[in-house]
């Protein structure tokens, strides 16, 4: 199984690699989960398809307090120019990424949404003979407002 995000280390072997063109950070901001995922897909689609490809190494989410905006942070890196992945190379994500975003205000609603997401994952898994890796992050919520969470899902072949 390929590695996706989470505990995926980026090693900088040269000074040029630290401040070079083979790593970047994306911050994506939206007022709700649906908007966050739409912007994520749009942002990723604008990244050129290069060799070696960009991969997601870290996925974080914050915000949602007082019903306000969410910010997702993605660290991207490429295995080139002094940048390496010491605990395993992450999988390229461009053509096999299925981000999901959800939000809810309380525990019962969270459970229902999570079950819906599980059903989507099950359908995805049933439709293709692949392995699916999921990375989930969760954030929120102050004064009874919303808890958002996002999942970055990739299918791996072979």
């Amino acid at each position: 199984m390929g590695r996706l995000v989470g505990d995926c280390f980026i090693q900088y072997n040269t000074l040029a690699a630290v401040d070079g063109e083979n790593q970047q950070t994306l911050f994506i901001e939206a007022d709700d989960a649906r908007g966050l995922i739409a912007r994520l897909i749009s942002t990723l689609s604008q990244i050129p398809d290069l060799t070696p490809p960009w991969t997601i190494t870290h996925h974080d989410l914050a915000g949602g307090g007082h019903g306000e905006k969410y910010v997702m942070k993605l660290e991207l890196a490429r295995n080139q120019g002094g940048v390496t992945f010491p605990n395993g190379a992450p999988q390229p994500f461009f053509s096999h990424l299925y981000p999901l975003g959800m939000e809810a205000s309380d525990h019962p609603e969270l459970v229902v949404h999570r079950q819906t997401a599980q059903a989507q994952l099950a359908a995805l898994f049933a439709s293709t003979p692949t392995t699916i890796t999921v990375d989930t992050v969760f954030a929120g919520a102050a004064l009874g407002h919303r808890f958002p969470w996002t999942e970055v899902i990739a299918e791996f072949f072979g």
């Binding site: 989470g6 505990d7 280390f9 980026i10 090693q11 900088y12 072997n13 000074l15 630290v18 401040d19 790593q23 950070t25 994306l26 911050f27 994506i28 901001e29 190494t57 870290h58 974080d60 989410l61 914050a62 915000g63 307090g65 007082h66 306000e68 905006k69 910010v71 942070k73 660290e75 010491p86 954030a139 102050a142 004064l143």
Partner: protein, 160 residues
């Protein structure tokens, strides 16, 4: 809480919970630079000891506008593989603070410049080989205030 080496810590003896095998520290601040300084203070406390940093996490930024970093240190008198953590003396944490995606992008880029400066500084040691970004942390924000991010690095040295 995210684990630095994907390795859980197992306590096989009830006395372990009350012993000095596991130490826990929390630092708190509303400002990135001050938080970073406080983290350095904790890391210095465990430098030249048998403790490794096994967990680190960031939370907060709510109505109190204060962020907290929690750190777990595990005592390892005999090295084991896989290691349950990283050496405090070789750990570097960079924090950044901003209110929206555009400013966060700028703040993150500035943090990366500071990482480059660290790399250059460490390069004066002939044993120094590389820096590894182990973990990124991200938290905040309530009432449209601020998001805090943190980058956790370890320096790698050649052995012998």
């Amino acid at each position: 809480m995210r684990t630095i080496f994907s390795s859980s810590i197992t306590f096989s003896d009830p006395d372990a919970f009350t012993s000095d095998l596991d130490e826990y520290r929390v630092v708190e601040s509303a400002e990135a630079e001050d938080l970073e300084e406080r983290i350095r203070g904790v890391l210095a406390e465990f430098t030249n000891t048998d403790y490794l940093l096994s967990h680190i996490d960031l939370a907060g930024g709510g109505d109190g506008h204060s962020f907290a970093v929690s750190m777990d240190f595990v005592k390892v008198e005999v090295p084991v593989i896989p290691s349950p953590g990283i050496a405090p003396a070789q750990t570097y944490v960079f924090t950044f603070l901003a209110a929206d995606a555009i400013e966060l992008t700028k703040a993150r880029a500035l943090a990366q410049k500071r990482v480059a400066a660290l790399f250059q500084s460490l390069s004066s040691n002939p044993s120094f080989e590389s820096l590894t970004l182990f973990q990124t942390l991200f938290s905040g924000a309530c009432q449209g205030t601020h998001f805090m991010g943190a980058l956790v690095f370890t320096a790698n040295y050649s052995i012998g």
